[in-house]
C-alpha cells in the first residue's frame, strides 16, 4: 500500500512537472537562434524567379565573408513586399517595381536595385508547324484579348510568309497563379494595346478575357504541349533550360527578335538613358534595335534607413559585390546580366542607404 502511494505520488508529481515544463517552453521567451556576436544574419524574402541566382550569390558571398550570412526565402514578390513593410526582413525582392500607392504605404523610403533581367517568350503548338513563328504586338494582343481566334488570321500569317498556318482554333493558355511572369507579359500588352490597358491592365494576376490557366511554367508548357492549337507564355530561362521552342516578337523598331540573354540585356540598355533615378521603370517594348520587347528587371528592395549601422554596411558591401563580381555569375545560370549603364547608376544609388 505504502509502495503504491509513493508510486502514485511520483506519477502525479512527474505529470505536474511535465505540464509546468511545457508551460515554460510555450509561455516563456522562445530561445531564438541568435547568431554569435561576430556573425551577422541578414534576412530577405520575396520573388521566386531569381531564387536560383540569389541563393548562389548569398552562399558565395558567405564563403567570401564568413561573418555575414544572408538568409533568403522565396515566398513570392507580394510576400516579400508585405514582410518588408512589416519590418520582419532586412530587404525584400520583387519582380515588379512598387507602384506609387505602395511606395506611399511604406514608412521609410525604399530603394529599388535591379539585380538581373528576365524575359517572357510565346510558345505554341500548331499541328504541322515546326518553324519559329514571328509575332507582332497586334497579333499577341489580339490573341490574348480573344479577338483573333484562328491561326490563319491575317495578323498572324502576315509576318509568317511561307509557313502554312491551318484554320485551327487558338487555345489561349496563361498562368493560373499570381506571378512576375504574368506581370511582364501583361505590362507588355498594356504598352502595345490601348484596348488591353483599359480593359485588362497589368498585374501579377489579371481578369483574363479568354483562356485556360496552367500552374507554373511547367503547367503552361504542359497544357500547350497537349492541346493542339494552343499558345502560352513562359519564362525565357525555363524555355532555354527545357528546350522549349518559342517564337520571335517584333520590337518597337520593327525587327523580329528572338529572346536571348544578349537581346534581353540590350532591352535594358535601350532604356538606360531615360531611366528614372529610382529605377521604377518598365523595360518592355524597349526602343533598342536589338532589344527583345518582353522583358523586365527583378529587384532587391532595400530601405534607405537601416537602424543597425553594421547591418547597413553589410548590405552596401553586398550590393557592391553583386553589381561587380556577382554579375559574372548570371549568364552561366541563364539569367541576363545588367548593362553597364545600369550598373553605374546603381552604384551611385548605394550611397543613399544610411
Amino acid at each position: 500500500m505504502n509502495k503504491r502511494r509513493v508510486l502514485d505520488l511520483t506519477l502525479v508529481a512527474s505529470i505536474g512537472l511535465l505540464i509546468m515544463g511545457l508551460m515554460t517552453v510555450s509561455g516563456g521567451a522562445p530561445a531564438s537562434p541568435v547568431a554569435a556576436p561576430d556573425k551577422m544574419l541578414l534576412n530577405g524574402a520575396g520573388a521566386t524567379f531569381p531564387y536560383p541566382i540569389y541563393s548562389k550569390w548569398f552562399s558565395d558571398y558567405n564563403h567570401l565573408h564568413p561573418d555575414i550570412e544572408i538568409n533568403y526565402q522565396s515566398i513570392g514578390s507580394g510576400g516579400g513586399i508585405a514582410q518588408l513593410k512589416a519590418g520582419t526582413v532586412d530587404f525584400g525582392a520583387s519582380d515588379m517595381p512598387l507602384n506609387d500607392k505602395m511606395v506611399g504605404d511604406f514608412k521609410v523610403k525604399v530603394l529599388h536595385f535591379p539585380t538581373v533581367l528576365g524575359a517572357v517568350v510565346p510558345t505554341y503548338n500548331i499541328p504541322g508547324v515546326t518553324q519559329e513563328l514571328n509575332f507582332t504586338a497586334d497579333a499577341l494582343a489580339g490573341i490574348y484579348l480573344g479577338k483573333i481566334t484562328k491561326w490563319n488570321d491575317p495578323a498572324i500569317t502576315g509576318p509568317n510568309k511561307g509557313v502554312n498556318l491551318p484554320a485551327q482554333d487558338i487555345v489561349v493558355v496563361h498562368r493560373s497563379e499570381g506571378s512576375g511572369t504574368t506581370f511582364v507579359w501583361t505590362d507588355y500588352l498594356c504598352k502595345v494595346s490601348k484596348d488591353w490597358e483599359t480593359s485588362v491592365g497589368r498585374n501579377a494576376s489579371v481578369n483574363w478575357p479568354v483562356g485556360l490557366g496552367g500552374k507554373g511554367n511547367e503547367g503552361v508548357t504542359g497544357m500547350v504541349k497537349q492541346q493542339p492549337g494552343a499558345i502560352g507564355y513562359v519564362e525565357l530561362i525555363y524555355a532555354i533550360q527545357n528546350n522549349i521552342p518559342y517564337g520571335r516578337v517584333r520590337n518597337s523598331s520593327g525587327s523580329f527578335v528572338k529572346a536571348e540573354l544578349s537581346s534581353v540585356t540590350a532591352a535594358a540598355a535601350g532604356v538606360a538613358k531615360s531611366m528614372p533615378e529610382d529605377f521604377r521603370v518598365s523595360i518592355t517594348d524597349s526602343p533598342g534595335k536589338a532589344a527583345y520587347p518582353v522583358c523586365s528587371f527583378t529587384y532587391l528592395l532595400v530601405p534607405t534607413k537601416i537602424q543597425d549601422a553594421t547591418k547597413a554596411k553589410a548590405i552596401k558591401d553586398f550590393l557592391h559585390w553583386m553589381l561587380s563580381d556577382g554579375q559574372k555569375e548570371a549568364e552561366p545560370l541563364t539569367y541576363a546580366r545588367l548593362p553597364k549603364e545600369v550598373v553605374a547608376k546603381e552604384l551611385k544609388q548605394i550611397s543613399m542607404i544610411e
Binding site: G78, A82, S176, E177, N203, L212, G213, K215, M223, Q226
Partner: protein, 329 residues
Amino acid sequence: MSDATMVVAAGGAGSPSRLRAFLRRLRSGDEIAHLITLIFASAIFLITFLLVYELWRNSALSRHRFGLDFLFTRTWDPVFEHFGALPFVFGTVVTSALALLMAIPLGVGAAIFLAELAPSRISDAVTFCIELLAAVPSVIYGLLGIFVLVPILRTTVMPFLKATLGFLPLFQGPIYGVSLFAAGVVLAIMIIPFIISISREVLLAVPAEQREGALALGATKWESTWKVVVPYARVGIMGSILLALARALGETMAVTMVIGNDPKIAASLFAPGYSIAAVIANEFSEATSDLYIHALIELGLVLFLLTIILNGLARLLILATTRKATAHA
C-alpha cells in the same frame, strides 16, 4: 493549467472532506486524466474560434467594400480591384458534387463487396491497396490527372459524351480536357478510398446476429446484406461520405492542376472553372494590395461557411434516414 488551478481552488473552498475526496481521485489518476483530456478537447474549440476570428478580422476591408455582393458577383479582377466569389463557389460545389455522384455508388458498392461477399484473402489484399491509395499525396493525383487522365478525357471520353448526351447543355461546347468534369473525376478517384475504407470497417462491425437473424427469417444472402446490414451501418457510411466531401471541398493542388483555372460560370461540365481553395493557393503569394489580400481571406471564410452548411445538410440527411431506419426496426 488555469482550469486546474481553478478546480483546486474550488475544492479548497469547499469542506475538507471534499478536498480529501478530490485528492484521493487525484492520486488515483482519474482527476488528472479528466483535466488533461478536457484541456485537449477545449483546444479544439479554441482553434475553431481563433480560425473564424482571424478570417473575419483579416477580411474586414473586403467585407466593408463589397458586403453581401461579394457572394453574388461574377467578376474577379485584381487590377481594378473588383472581387466576387460566385464563380469560385460554383466551381467548388459543382466539382465536389460531381465527385460524390461518381464516388458514392462505386465506393459503397465496393465496400459492400469487400465486407460481405468477398473471400477474406481478396478483401484483405484489396483493402491494403485502398489504404495505400488514400495515402498518395494530392499533387501526384494532379500530375496523373494532367498527363494521363486529361488526354484520355479529351480524346475519348468527352467526345463520346458529346456525341451521345450532347443534347444536354451539360455536355456541350469546345473540349479542352481541363474542365470542371476533369476536376470532378480526379476528386472522385481521390475520395473513393476514404469511402471504401471507412464503409468497409463499419459494415464489418455490424453484429453477426443481425445477419443470422435475417437469414433465419428466410432472407437470401443479398437480402440480408441490402435490407439489414447496410441500413444498420447507414450512419457510419454517411460519416465516410461526409469525410470524403470535406476532402473534396478543400482539395487544392490536384484541382488546380486540372480545372483550367478560369473564374467563369458555364452550364457545360466541359468548360474550365475555378475552385475557392485553388484561387487562394494560386494568388495569395503575389497579392500585393490590402484589399486583394482581404478578398482572398474572405474567400477562405466563404469556404469555411460552405463547409459548415454542406456538413449541416448532410447531418440532417443522416438524422432523417436514421430515424426512418429505427422506426422500421
